[in-house]
Structure formats: C-alpha cells, structure tokens
C-alpha cells in the first residue's frame, strides 16, 4: 500500500514539505555533529601521533600547548646535558610557545601561535614537514627570520620572501610549510629561539623542553626519573597527553552528542505532530477503509509507510548535505558506513514518530467514522 501512502502525502503538499524540511535539517544537524566529532578526533589523533616516544617537560600545572608555562633555560639545558637519560639530542630541544589569537570556543585550539626553536632544530617539533615555498630551515645564523605554517601564512597574509610584523618586530619569511596533519604546525609561526625570547621578553626562559628518548621503550622510565628529580616540573608523555586530550575533549564531544540527541527528538516530534494531524483529518477515510475490510494492521502499515517516506525524502538530502560540511571543515569525508548510519537515524526517527499516530489510526472504529461529520 505504498502507492496509497505516497498519494496521501502528495495530497497535502504543504504539510509534507514542511515535515520533510524539518527532517532534513535534523538529519543535517546530526550529520554535522558526526563530522565535527570526526574533525576533533582526527586532529587530536594526528597531533598525538607525532609525540610517540616524546617527553614534554614544562611548568607544573600548565596545559598543552604550554603557553602559560615558564621554566629557566638553564634548567632545560641541564636536563638536555644529562647522559643518564639516554636522550636523542638531535630530536630534543628547548621551546617557547606564545599564543597570538585564541580559538572561537574555549575548547578549540588557538588560531595562531609563535613557536621558538633553536636554529638547526626546526624539525624537532613537527618532523620534516616540507615547504610549499621557500625553505623549511632557518638560513645560517640569521635570527630575524620566520617559517610560517599554511594557516599562519593566511593569518599574516604573507608569502615566502616577504616580511611580516610579529609583536612589533619585522621578520623575513623564509618559507611556508605544506599542510600538515598536525594542527599546531599549520597555525605556527616558527622563529629562532633567541628571537622568540627577545620578541616576548622571555630572555633566559623557555616554555618547555621537548625530549626524545633514545629508546622508545624507555620513555616511561625516563619520565619517571625526571619526575623524581624535578618534582616542581610537569613531565608529560604521549600517554599522558592522550588522557589529558580525552578529558578536554569529553565535554565538547558530549555537547555535540547532546545536539545530535536534540536533533533526533525534534525530528521525532515534527513527524509525530504532522502524522497525528493527518490521522485526525482522515478519520472518515480510515473508517471507510475499515468498513470495506481493511485490517488494523493494514491501516498501521499505511501510516508507518507515510512516515518512513517522509523520513527518507528528508533524510537523504540531509545526509548528503553533511558531505560538503565535511569539506568546509577540512575534515575527512563521512564514510559510506557513516552516511548509512545517518540515513538510519532518519528512518528510526520516522518510525518512532509514526508509532503513536499509526496506533491512533488503528483505533478508528468504522462506525464512528461513518457518523463523523
């Protein structure tokens, strides 16, 4: 009886269109929250992957990135000088982090930052990210130079070979890096460590020391030693960062999930109210069908068919709209499985929204409908 259901929906076009639009928006919202969750999760995973085998030493109580951390450069150098820790000194360095602009929401990463790294240690933080233009290394010993991440280049509106002004000082852009899976690389303006210290008045200070264990299996042991020897400092490994990131992400992801639940409830409510009105208006028709021999089960299936058709017609475009949303957010596109899940979301909302009106329809007595004026 799908043909009857479709005819019923087409007869009441305005109501059907409004219901479809509501379902489309709800499904789109659900798909968007899934995309945003993907984005946050991928950003976190990519960021953390880089820190395998790494140890961050920074001021106790500070967060990551350590914008609010300050430790003495002498302390950092003393740690680097320790031979008992078995460090890979090529991949270890003191660093300065300065936030230039916050993210839109408190839990979102900064929009721009400056990172000071020792000359020759440009690869310590981000690995060998290649440059799209210019170089990914500081030339010689010049210290009034900067390497920009892809988004940082947009932020400062500068290309390789041009000058930018950071905190009142003019610096020469020697290179713009390719887009990295590490978000922090994309938003960073990387300057020589002494330049960063001078720019922001942090002479003799650094934000953190990034250490790389010579043996990745010794990370926990090295970090345990450092915690014991420097109790006022915070020693963070990749595991620690992951746990911290998950804690930080918990609230925004919960918020996203609540948005998804709200979208679902709205879809169910819209479908239910539309169909309840439709059933009430069609009491006479339903009674006639019952009078000429339609079973209650058939009546139920016609009403449920209408709700499922509304859900599908609204759900499929709503799902497909999630795809450009993912592109806008520069997130990976939803997988076929995720798209299918979003469509199923629409169908489940339709089924739940249609259950009560369908039940009401089955309760229509043929006799009452014949008396209906």
């Amino acid at each position: 009886m799908f043909d009857i259901a479709i005819k019923n929906l087409f007869t009441r076009k305005t109501r059907s269109i409004l219901c479809i639009l509501a379902v489309m928006v709800s499904v789109y919202l659900n798909g968007s929250t899934a995309t945003m969750n993907n984005r946050m999760y991928d950003a976190m995973t990519a960021e953390l992957a880089r820190y395998m085998g790494k140890i961050y030493v920074q001021q106790g109580g500070s967060s990551y990135p350590p914008f609010d951390s300050t430790i003495a450069q002498a302390t950092a150098e003393a740690i680097l000088a320790r031979t008992d820790l078995g460090l890979n000194l090529e991949e270890s360095a003191p660093l300065i982090f300065v936030r230039m602009e916050r993210g839109m929401m408190p839990f979102m990463p900064a929009k721009a930052m400056v990172i000071g790294v020792p000359i020759g240690k440009e690869n310590v933080l981000f690995g060998n990210v290649e440059a799209t233009t210019g170089a990914n290394r500081f030339p010689g010993t010049a210290d009034d130079v900067v390497i920009l991440g892809e988004q940082a280049a947009n932020y400062y509106n500068a290309m390789a070979g041009q000058d930018v002004t950071i905190n009142g000082q003019t610096l020469h852009v020697v290179g713009v890096l390719k887009r990295s899976s590490m978000e922090s690389a994309n938003i960073a303006a990387i300057v020589p460590l002494p330049t960063a210290q001078r720019l922001f008045g942090k002479e003799g200070m650094v934000s953190a020391v990034l250490l790389t264990a010579g043996n990745v299996n010794k990370v926990e042991k090295v970090s345990a030693t450092l915690r014991q020897d420097y109790p006022v400092l915070e020693v963070t490994t990749q595991n620690d960062m992951q746990q911290e990131a998950q804690k930080v992400m918990r609230m925004p992801m919960f918020y996203m999930s609540m948005m998804s639940v709200t979208a679902f409830v709205v879809a169910v409510a819209v479908i239910m109210s539309t169909m309840v009105m439709a059933v009430m208006e069609r009491t006479r028709e339903i009674g006639t069908l019952r009078a000429i021999g339609a079973s209650r089960r058939l009546i139920l299936s016609i009403v449920l068919a209408e709700t499922l058709i509304l859900s599908l017609i609204g759900g499929i475009p709503g799902t497909l709209l999630s795809v450009p949303m993912a592109a806008v957010m520069q997130s990976r596109l939803p997988t076929p499985v995720q798209l299918t899940q979003i469509v199923i979301f629409a169908l489940v909302a339709g089924t739940l929204g249609g259950l009560y009106p369908a039940w009401r329809a089955t309760q229509v007595d043929p006799l009452e409908a014949l008396r209906y004026e």
Partner: protein, 225 residues
C-alpha cells in the same frame, strides 16, 4: 430458500453520560438469498443501527445474529473485518470514496483488500465501472464527479468482491429524486441477477421499489409488506 441473515431477539443499548439508549429492542429478522429488502422508519427508529450490526461493523448488546449460518455476535474484530471484506458490500449515504484515489482505484482497493491485485483486479474493476455506466470516467477523482456518479462508484466498489450481501444506508439521501431513482434502478438490476440487498431508507417511495418492505419504529420491527 436459504437465510442470508437471521437475527433473534437482537438488542443494542448505548450508554451515553450514564443514560441507556435502547436503539434496538428484540429484533427478529430474516432475509433470504436473492431478496431486495427495504427497512423504513423515522429518524431514530434503529434502522441504521440494525444495518450496522448486520454489516459486522458493530456488535449487539445481546441476541443472536447469523450471516450465511455463521454467528456474528461472537466473532473477533479480525473475523468481522474479513467478513466485511469478502462477504458484505456497503454503500453509504455520503458515498465515502477515498478522495486521493481515482474512480478505478477506489474500486480496485476493495479487490486489493481481498487479495485480488494486478491485472485481474483492474479488469474486474473496469467491468464493474462499465456496468454502472462510468467506463469513461475511470481516471477521474471523486471530486470531479456528481453525487450520482460517486454513488455509482460506491456501488461498484461494494460489489467488487461479489459479496453475499449488499447493504445500503440511505443511498439516495444526498441525491435528487431523479438521480436517486437511477441508483435504485441499479439496485433492482443487480437484484434481478441474484444479489441480496438490504437498503435502509426513510423515503417510502424509494422503499416501495424493494421486493419487501419492513417498518421500524422505536427499535422494533413493526411489520412488513
């Protein structure tokens, strides 16, 4: 002759706001196969109530009721629904066509409910519509038809599954006399072919065209002619 319908001491009492309304009071009725019976009476006499009970759309308060020898009073809702689908055809005063379906589809739906779908259903529906004179209006919607035409569609729908019994509740009530007469003529035509018909009417001229007229007043059968 076989009894199509038998009722014995049939009562129907409605309870409204604590008051009991006796719509039928001990009705004994038989209708033989092939009869054309008219039930006449003033408004509130119980004739429509009796028709609804015979048509398995309602259940009696007490008494016995049989259709083709089968007891109706004890049937479940599902059994009564099947009965209405296969063995009873109903024609309503207000036509009660489904507004979103075409004329042809309105007749076909009765066949689909009985499990006759596809080409066979379409063929039978087409034949019936041609018999009632609507062969050229099959794609029209009910709102595009006159009252008389809609009633003819309703008759075709009621006869789609070759029911044992055709029930008509004031079939000419919403029609002018000429159109109403055309509907009664159709009934007489089908009755001549053996269709058993019970028709409720308050119009004595319409009733007089049936083979047997039974009068009702105050929930009781008063007599017949």
């Amino acid at each position: 002759m076989d009894h199509i319908i038998e009722t014995h001491d049939l009562w129907k009492v409605y309870r409204m706001d604590g008051l009991a309304v006796e719509a039928l009071r001990g009705v004994n009725l038989t209708v033989e196969a092939g009869e054309f019976v008219a039930l006449v009476g003033p408004s509130g006499s119980g004739k429509s109530t009796l028709l609804h009970l015979i048509g398995a759309m309602d259940t009696p308060t007490r008494g016995e009721m049989r259709l083709n020898g089968r007891g109706l009073a004890q049937m479940s809702d599902a059994e009564r629904t099947r009965l209405r689908c296969h063995e009873i055809g109903f024609v309503f005063q207000t036509f009660n066509l489904l507004p979103t379906l075409s004329v042809l589809e309105n007749v076909e739906i009765a066949l689909r409910l009985a499990g006759v779908a596809g080409r066979e259903g379409r063929t039978r529906a087409t034949e019936l519509l041609e018999r009632v004179g609507l062969g050229g209006r099959m794609r029209h919607l009910p709102r595009q038809l006159s009252g008389g035409e809609r009633q003819r569609v309703a008759i075709a729908r009621a006869l789609a599954n070759q029911p044992a019994l055709l029930l008509a509740d004031e079939p000419t009530g919403n029609l002018d006399s000429a159109t109403g007469q055309a509907i009664v003529d159709l009934f007489r035509q089908f009755n001549a072919e053996g269709q058993t018909i019970v028709m409720v009417t308050h119009n004595p001229e319409v009733a007089a065209q049936a083979v047997r007229v039974m009068r009702m007043r105050d929930g009781k059968l008063m007599g017949q002619s």
